[in-house]
Amino acid sequence: MGVEEKFKQSVKGIHSLLAILLIGFISVLTILFFTVKDLASPTTNTPVISPDYVEVLGNEEDLDKIENGIHVRTGFVEGEGLMLVVQNCTSCHSAKLVTQNRMSKEKWLATIRWMQETQNLWDLGVNEEPILKYLSTYYAPNQIGRRANLENVEWYHLNE
């Protein structure tokens, strides 16, 4: 075994050691990450069964099911930013308050500001822009004019 080969082997050894250390380090980090999150999560501190918990127990996998382009649990349209909207816009009020409205980006922003100033909505930080983009894309105004046609009339025979 020459010096060169010995050196190569040492390098190999160090390499393997480093790899093992790295894997170990990642594992520790992962465990730490989840443990800390677990501890930080208020739902885990209190062994009370919240409505959220009840809601998802039966079909945990279906929590964020999308059907025909609609997020079933909330009724939101599927699209980029959907989960940010679900997380930030449905803890105080119903998703229905969002989905029944149609606004321009400017008006959605004004609504967010109003909620921040008067309704205890938190700072949305970097999520604000994607939330606004989602809302102004999927919940943009329709041009309904001054009076729309009567739509969705259910015809029936009038018996008297």
Binding site: T43, L57, L63, R102, M103, L158, E160
Partner: protein, 406 residues
């Protein structure tokens, strides 16, 4: 999404850890632990409503009627729209419930128990029309934010209670009184106990009207919880938000009440007309008082098909805020010609009036029956959506139904 799932999983793990149970048992738990109000998942059943009522919002609860559900002369509980701003109070104990009078313009702060209110003052019953200021909001263009009411945020039930003027006479108010503001037991959606969901009121002159009552009954029974049990202020003809539910305190103010939803743009319209989409400054807005003239065809339901030889009977109600209605007319040709309807007088001030007509159609085809009421001051409903305003209030455009003659 992942985070939420993770929380769910971890709380399940924590729970099973604490209880020392297998995860299978976790699946059996919910039945016993679901809070009472969640056991009935159908809100229409929960509130005893007709199954055709329309849920606009479930947090907070906002539910409206459809025109044909409002056919009764006196609106039954099953067809009463629900407009809540916050969470319904949870623990209501009528034995400890009190109403306090305070404010700058009161001689002395005074508190009454519910039974004192019921026994010390004379009872009155009135049929009073309550319409949400935002009824019809869904038609504004550009759209206005908020619950997108179509036509069903109106009711005319019988309310029983005591006159506010009687109790104010006993409490004693100062000559500088301008407004009364209510405070109630509902709680803010954010859970912040320092915030009131809504605290509106009426000018002192409205407060002293005979029909302005503190009600404890609706249609002869205790007011349903969702409508303000055990005590509700009723101020007919004004936006229904002036009729505060779950009443605990009335402040007699020496200025316009500045509670939640009295300020900013809430329940206000521009002083001067504005173009659609205009941003209006707060100081350029005025508080809505009397609601405008309006009517609804409650029979037949839109979509009726019938033979040419048949005469169609239509009927419905008309109201005009603090005024009354002097004329109702229908048109089957988009307003080219109008024919008068029979119109009944109101049973008391601020109750809606009933109209009816029989219509003969000239030929087969698609028609719309449009209805138009005129108040005693000569103002009629517009056929188009009226003046745009930032929050989408006061849409009193003519109601219409579609019919087919075959």
């Amino acid at each position: 999404m992942e985070r939420r799932k993770f929380i769910t999983r971890s709380s399940l793990a924590t729970l099973t850890g604490i209880l020392g149970m297998d995860i299978v048992f976790g699946n059996l738990l919910p039945d016993k632990y679901i809070p009472l109000e969640l056991q009935e998942t159908d809100p229409l059943k929960l509130f005893g409503l007709n199954k055709e009522m329309q849920v606009l919002n479930d947090k907070p609860w906002n539910i409206e009627a459809q025109a044909h559900l409002l056919d009764d002369k006196v609106t039954p509980n099953t067809a009463m729209f629900i407009r809540n701003n916050g969470k319904i109070p949870e623990a209501i104990d009528v034995n400890t419930w009190t109403l306090t009078f305070d404010g700058e313009s009161i001689n002395q702060k005074k508190t009454y128990t519910l039974s004192e209110l019921k026994t010390k003052f004379k009872h009155y019953t009135y049929q009073l029309t309550l319409e949400c200021g935002g009824n019809g909001r869904s038609e504004f263009n550009p759209p206005a934010k908020g619950n997108q009411w179509t036509i069903g945020a109106v009711s005319s039930a019988k309310w029983t209670g005591i006159r506010l003027k009687d109790i104010l006479a006993e409490v004693g108010i100062k000559s500088d009184a301008v407004y009364i503001g209510y405070h109630a037991a509902d709680t803010h959606l954010s859970g912040d106990p320092s915030k009131e969901p809504i605290s509106r009121g009426v000018p002192i002159a409205k407060a002293l009207q005979e029909e302005t009552i503190l009600a404890f009954q609706m249609n002869g029974e205790d007011i349903p919880v969702v409508h303000g049990y055990p005590l509700r202020l009723i101020a007919g003809g004004y936006p229904a938000s002036a009729s505060g539910k779950w009443l605990q305190r009335i402040s007699v103010r020496n200025k316009i009440h500045d509670g939640e939803k009295m300020t900013g743009s809430s329940y206000k319209v521009p002083r001067n007309p504005v173009a659609p989409g205009t941003t209006v400054k707060e100081e350029d807005m005025r508080i809505i008082e009397s609601m405008p003239v309006k009517s609804l065809i409650t029979y037949p339901k839109s979509g009726a098909t019938f033979n040419l030889n048949k005469q169609l009977t239509i009927r419905g109600h008309a109201w005009a805020g603090e005024l009354n209605v002097s004329k109702v007319a229908y048109s089957i040709d988009f307003g080219s010609t109008w024919s008068s309807c029979d119109l009944e007088k109101e049973v008391n001030r601020f109750a809606w009036q009933h109209f009816s007509a029989k219509i003969k159609f000239p030929q087969k085809g698609y028609y719309e029956v449009w209805i138009k009421a005129t108040d005693r001051d000569g103002r009629s409903q517009p056929m188009l959506v009226p003046g745009w305003n930032p929050k989408g209030y006061l849409n009193n455009a003519c109601h219409r139904i579609a019919v087919k003659v075959v």
